[in-house]
Symmetry: C2
Subunit: 119 residues, 2 copies
């Protein structure tokens, strides 16, 4: 499994997930919502040995490679229908907008007409 570091930040109107994806294009990454409350990020990071002139010898191997998968529980106010994701410069950014809060309960004070006679 490849390691995939993720930051999550909360703004006034959304949650933002930022994941390190060096060397990956948007077509290499899968972003899904499972069971209406889990955000799943998955894919595979491969070592690119496509362009070679003869034998390749790895002198040093520090970069993480292989399949990766991360899951995050989404908060109740996540607007699942408006989630968007973009990948640029090896960084995946997923924006999860918040649903607007329900109307705030305000206790009311008002007069009730009293009708009748004799009092």
């Amino acid at each position: 499994m490849a390691t995939t570091a993720v930051d999550v930040k909360e703004l006034a109107s959304s949650y933002i997930f930022i994941a390190d994806m060096p060397g990956l294009k948007h077509s290499d990454i899968k972003v899904q919502v499972e069971n209406d409350n889990v955000l799943k990020i998955s894919g595979e990071r491969r070592r690119d040995d496509a362009v070679q002139d003869g034998e390749v010898k790895y002198v040093r191997v520090e970069r993480s490679a292989g399949k990766f998968m991360r899951k995050f529980n989404l908060p109740a106010n996540a607007n699942l229908d408006a989630i968007s994701a973009a990948c640029q410069d090896g960084l995946l950014t997923i924006i999860v907008p918040k649903t607007p809060p329900p109307d705030i309960y305000r206790p009311r004070t008002f007069d009730v007409n009293v009708t009748g006679s004799g009092c």
Copy 2:
């Protein structure tokens, strides 16, 4: 200091350094050769909070941030004048061509004319 994983591979005609630089553009990265034999990669990885709507609260922080610097001794056959570097999809690739090997010593066998008289 930010962590910066680097792979180094050796091909028949070059050494290739590949460094994870998620979120960085080529203008954020400095590649230098020091003292004719040290390859130095440096820069800074910042958290991008430029686009905000109000207060930002980090719910999760896993991604590495801050300045980074890596140094590698270059082999004697590195062609310093032909080093090239490119950054794409958050991946820095530095190609260090090898200098061609010196002409191979081949012991020669040949005839030497013998001149003179009396023998």
